[in-house]
């Protein structure tokens, strides 16, 4: 059995309004995750914003996948996975909607109005399918493709810059599903750009997104969930070094 680092989140967060105290075995919420993954953190952000206690289990996804991971996400074998009432759910945005559907106390992550919900889902999907895919390939993909992917990512950011406009968050006054989906852009991107020396998003060209990222990262709950900057920078340094030597 692979070693597991577990810690239990039971302390109250500022906005917690739901039930606290002992949860029986059936109600227990577990998150299988990766400390540095923006996808994994999306789930933790929503749980913490809603004040839902959970047990976090760190997964060695790139090394030895635990029997627990293989049991709970046999199809994709990836994190994050949420385990609740003994059943598992995979895919970060599917999990986020599940959390929204299940726990009715605490702040909402999606708007009430069907049209606004459709818009939120559209932009969350856009972040995942257009921007995140391109970002991944722009920094970590095959060398020959990186320029093309950088352009894709840049175009994606332009749409997002326009979409956020002068709204505080994509969700309006409060953090919503699009903000959560865009967590990589709000926090990870700055660190990756610094470490790699490759810049896609500048403050000058993207003043709205820059302002949004500061508000996002500055949120009292979000900032506690985000992985430490130094640790992430150290993690990112390695692939860039090896990419440079392989030419």
């Amino acid at each position: 059995i692979a070693q597991e680092n577990t810690y239990t989140q039971t302390q109250r967060t500022e906005n917690q309004t739901g039930l606290t105290g002992k949860m029986n075995q059936e109600e227990q919420v577990q998150v299988l995750g990766l400390w540095g993954s923006p996808f994994s953190k999306r789930v933790e952000m929503v749980l913490q914003l809603k004040g839902i206690p959970y047990e976090y289990i760190e997964e060695d996804v790139y090394g030895n996948k635990s029997p627990m991971l293989l049991k709970y996400n046999p199809i994709h074998k990836k994190v994050p996975v949420l385990v609740h009432n003994g059943r598992s759910i995979a895919e970060s945005l599917v999990i986020v909607e599940y959390i929204e559907d299940t726990w009715k106390t605490g702040p909402t992550i999606l708007p009430q109005d069907p049209y606004e919900r459709a818009m939120a889902r559209f932009w969350a999907k856009y972040v995942d399918e257009k921007v995140m895919v391109a970002m991944g390939k722009a920094f970590w993909g095959p060398e020959s493709e990186r320029e093309k992917e950088r352009k894709e990512a840049y175009e994606g950011l332009i749409s997002l810059e326009k979409e956020i406009g002068d709204k505080r968050f994509f969700g309006g006054e409060t953090i919503g599903i699009v903000d959560i989906a865009a967590d990589f852009i709000g926090y990870w991107l700055g660190i990756v750009q610094e470490v790699s020396g490759v810049t896609i998003m500048t403050a000058e060209e993207f003043p709205n997104l820059k302002r949004w990222s500061e508000d996002f990262v500055g949120n009292n709950i979000i900032k506690e969930v985000l992985p430490p900057k130094q640790k992430l920078a150290a993690l990112f340094k390695t692939p860039f070094r090896s990419a440079a030597t392989s030419g």
Binding site: R87, V94, A118, R121
Partner: protein, 227 residues
Amino acid sequence: MASGEVKLIGAWASPFVMRPRVALNLKSVPYEFLQETFGSKSELLLKSNPVHKKIPVLLHADKPVCESNIIVEYIDETWSSSGPSLLPSLPYDRAMARFWAAYIDEKWFVALRNFLKAEGEEEKKAVIAEFEEGNALLEKAFIDCSKGKPFFNGDHIGYLDISLGSFLAWLRVTELAASYKLLDEAKTPSLCKWADHFCNDPAVKPVMPETAKLAEFAKKIFAKPQA
């Protein structure tokens, strides 16, 4: 508010366009179908979906909704008091519907598309293996989700039925082109029964492309250009 004119920008051959059409039929919502000409994009489409410039686009009181599965959810939430619910009521079942819909678009459909592109015996074998693996997963998912009822969504067609069922016409065309049974009663008996139920549903029949007509269309659009 469920009031306001409903229009759908799309094309008869597109499986993605078929999804909101089935949903609107299930909810008995009348709509104007605005067909795009293959090979060009109308002003209205470009204006309504400037980000992706793709069909389908639902226009409800002139407000555009894009992305087929998102449109289906919008239809379900807007006309919630009309007809059966398109998504299950329990959060876990809803999550399963969303998970499998994502799988279908991101993995299963990609494998189906690769069939038509596959060249040579080796490549064809690999594509078939990948596709059949996916089918086995969907067979199990059907059994889990349907709980003995005819559809993924239970007694009535829902979000996940629509997401997979919309590809059936293209699946049949691919079977003809590849001379290979992609949905086999011996391997996936439940899915085959489900496919029959789906295709015969009154909400589906009028908008499911005819196999022969679609095969002709496929020949046209996949025709290799003359040298």
